[in-house]
């Protein structure tokens, strides 16, 4: 499709969009004037945002696809937002989103309920939520794209991720049947619906998700469901509801692919992608800057978290934190939520976690991303460390978490799931209240 066609197409639809969409939007978005997101008020001792890391790049393609005067961009920095309750615990919690998302997925659920961020603050943790380097509010290296366009050579240009609405659907919530079809030719079904192709081989996990999917109120944008303002061919009308989830609006392109890669001689393979390189580096900087913290990653950031550990080790080797091992000792716990935990890929060994409590946490549905983590957990235990693998489909939970998917922080069970993670942290990470009453400067 040509751009001029796109504009032409969009013109014809947008006037319709503008006229119609306002009538129905109240049903989609949960406005705080209608329903409170928080479960109760919160006292905030401090809050704000800042950036860690970043490197300078001097380029003629900062703002143009034709070479112009040299300008400098700062790339690879990481956006950090934080809130601190009074009488916070000693060690803060740093939370990292996964592929195709930003920190917004931790702030409120799509049906307008308290997110993990606020919950963590309510539980007494100073909490830091990041946008991975190269994504969301962290920006990315646009000059890389501008220059590729300028030279007319986009061959091999990295793609920006597949977290489309329908991609999220098939990754975590359901299927498009029959096999080989798409949203135009096939039908979207939820996990556990008749026709779920996994039910035959895995009847135990054949159940409905407890994600924010209809009939949960506010879960669907009616104007998108009605295809108002639609661009491109129409899908099978039977799919309209499942293509209109508010959840999808949290998705954003993986622009971290514009950041440069690096090498790691202790890693296998030795080439490290831009996300692991820069978010890993920035997280290590953040842990050191805060002089200690617990880090929780999700999905794609699982490997980012492990590379962060490697950077802490490398910082120790360079004597950055003073005493031997002082950088690594600032990591007070690593929580990997449905993400990869390979030591080989990240240049780590079980001994690195001898004094760092380590948790792998998985939803009710087995996920190929974290399924291989049993070996890692076993290795740490064998080395005398503290490590656990909590699976929400464990029989000890009964049916409590039945149907919780990969995107558990946005599910209807989000807070109960988070409480399980915090329960583990309370048991395994010494983290007393500081007693700081935050009275300096009264309200």
């Amino acid at each position: 499709m040509r751009r001029d066609q796109l504009i032409k197409k969009s013109i014809s639809v947008l006037s319709a969009a503008v006229l119609v969409s306002f009538a129905a939007t109240a049903l989609a978005t949960v406005y705080p004037t209608d329903k409170r997101h928080l479960t109760g008020p919160l006292r905030i001792c401090d809050q704000g945002s800042f950036f860690v890391g970043g490197v300078p790049k001097v380029t003629q393609y900062a703002n143009s696809v034709t070479p112009s005067s040299y300008q400098e961009l700062i790339i690879t920095q990481m956006y950090v937002q934080f809130q601190m309750p009074p009488n916070a615990r000693r060690w803060p919690l740093i939370m990292v989103h996964g592929g195709g998302y930003s920190g917004s997925c931790l702030e409120s659920t799509p049906d307008g309920r308290e997110g993990w961020y606020s919950r963590s603050v309510r539980r007494g943790l100073a909490t830091y939520v990041v946008d991975q380097a190269g994504r969301g509010r962290s920006g990315f290296d646009r000059s890389f794209i501008n220059e590729a366009i300028a030279t007319g050579n986009l061959a091999g240009f990295p793609n920006l991720g597949n977290t489309s609405s329908s991609g999220i659907w098939t990754a975590w919530f359901g299927f498009i049947v029959p096999a080989g079809s798409d949203i135009i030719t096939g039908t979207m079904i939820q996990r556990g619906d008749a026709g779920d192709p996994t039910c035959a081989s895995d009847p135990f996990h054949c159940a409905h998700t407890v994600q924010v999917i209809p009939p949960v109120p506010h879960s669907v944008d009616p104007s998108i469901k009605a295809r108002v303002g639609a661009i491109g061919p129409a899908p099978n009308p039977a799919n309209d509801t499942y293509l209109a989830l508010e959840h999808y609006k949290y998705g954003l392109p993986n622009t971290n692919v514009t950041l440069p890669n690096s090498t790691c001689s202790t890693c296998n393979p030795t080439t490290i992608n831009g996300a692991d390189t820069w978010s890993g580096r920035d997280l290590a900087t953040l842990v050191e800057g805060l002089k200690g913290g617990i880090v929780a990653t999700h999905s794609q950031s699982g490997s980012v978290g492990h590379h962060m550990v490697r950077y802490l080790k490398e910082d120790d080797a360079a004597g950055k934190c003073g005493a031997a091992g002082a950088c690594l000792a600032m990591l007070k716990g690593l929580i990997t939520i449905d993400g990869a935990c390979s030591f080989a890929n990240t240049g780590l060994t079980a001994a690195d976690f001898a004094n760092i409590p380590y948790l792998v946490f998985r939803g009710w549905y087995p996920s190929p991303i974290s399924n291989g983590c049993d070996a890692t957990v076993a290795a740490i235990k064998a080395a005398g460390g503290t490590a656990d693998f909590i699976k929400l489909d464990d029989p000890s939970f009964g049916t409590r978490f039945q149907g919780v998917t990969h995107m558990m922080m946005m599910s209807t069970k989000s807070l109960e799931v988070f409480d399980e993670i915090l329960k583990w942290a309370d048991k395994n990470i010494r983290n007393p209240r500081t007693g700081d009453s935050c009275e300096e400067g009264s309200e």
């Binding site: 503008v18 409170r36 809050q47 920095q77 091999g156 920006l160 661009i231």
Partner: protein, 479 residues
Amino acid sequence: MRHDQFKRKALSVLVAVVAGAIATSASAVRYPTEHRYLTKPLQICDQGIFYVGGAPKVTPFGANSTPGAYTQIIIGSMFVHFQVPMKSKSWPLIIVHGSGYTGSCVEGTAAGSEGWMDYTVRHGIPTYVVDQSGRGRSGFDKSVIHEGEHLISTDPAAALALLPTFGGSTSTAWTSWFGSIVPALTDVTDGEMVRFGAPALQSNGLPAPGMDPLCVTRPARCTFLGHIPMEPEAPWAVDQAIASRMGIGAPAGLGTVKPDVGGHVNPAFPLNDRYLALEAYKFNVPNTESTLPGSTCPSCLPTTLNATNTWTPRALATLVEGLGGAIVATHSQSGQIGMNMVRVLREDGKLDMLKGLIQVEGGSNTVTSGTTADDFKSIPYLAFKGNYSATSTVAQTLVDAIKGLGGTADYIQLDQPGPWQGAYQGPYGFDYVGPFKGVSHMMMIETSNLRVMDVILNWVGNNIKQPEPTRCPVDDDGD
């Protein structure tokens, strides 16, 4: 450049980056563990995020540049972050950032201090901060790039027509708001970066690196410096790892990069390095809304609207309506977004829901937004300008026209007479040296940000009729 070349080149420099950046990075950020951002604690009744608007796009380029199965993406939706105080004394205030930024510019400053959002919440105002549609956490239409990549080998012209240019702030923020590069027609690699006001009053007593050319024509400007934090008066304002040029050893692998000479971007003026390492620049993101489609507007001149003035105005109008009434404050590039929002609200028949429009450093153009002064008869309107900006004719014209119709409108310029000057008696204009001297376009991330917001809030208090206060229901503690 091929991607695999990119990779290989990058490898050689990044080893240096990672090893080198470590040593000094702690000095750049003001960590909250060492320094409180807020002026005082805050109690919050409610907070969170949501998205408004958006339209579905079905495309075979949703996942990558090889046309595959059709997938749907939602484009044009707008990220909204909100906090509601325990006692709300005002209509909700919606704050919209300008070009090259996201909402992060009002959530803490480059100085690591309280931001506009915290401050308005503290003053009893439920506050909603957005990322413009197509920018930051709102995402953008990546399929346009994938599709361009697909077409580039077979139909380069079509590909180039499809692919947008990504602009936004860079070190151009320097010349736009904080200083100059001299002589004229030079850039950061062959010119000298000088601060506005230099060589006047650096607090360490040393002469500034160069002279602000404005000092010649406007000597009063040479008696003070700007309010964006900079070394040496604020050591944490500069990222030392970036000032020492770590991470760009030649040959750089980040595309075509001009290599440093002797570790400096311009060895003749090594202080350029420092001025290129301001924490303030890290707030910048690409203007990716250029990937979204435009639209038409019969009442606008010209009738074609770009993506910027198509999607965020629509989403803002939806937000105002969804909240049941709100005050909107725009900045810079979002000024015309605010004007187009007024038009959309009028088209929706919901103009009465806009309780006030505050335009900080931009907006006011009725012709291009299909609005008239008549639309503002019942909407208090403020055009607000900082220092270093000339009087805007369109702003003055609109304010006068609204007043002529009996409406409420003001044009506040911080370097002009008004109650905000306190005991200061002048001079005004180019020679202004009163309490707001040195305030720039990016006033919300500067050290004087809260005093500037005080002027805005004072105007709000005097001109916008507010609803009865509401208290937070405190039936439980949230557990």
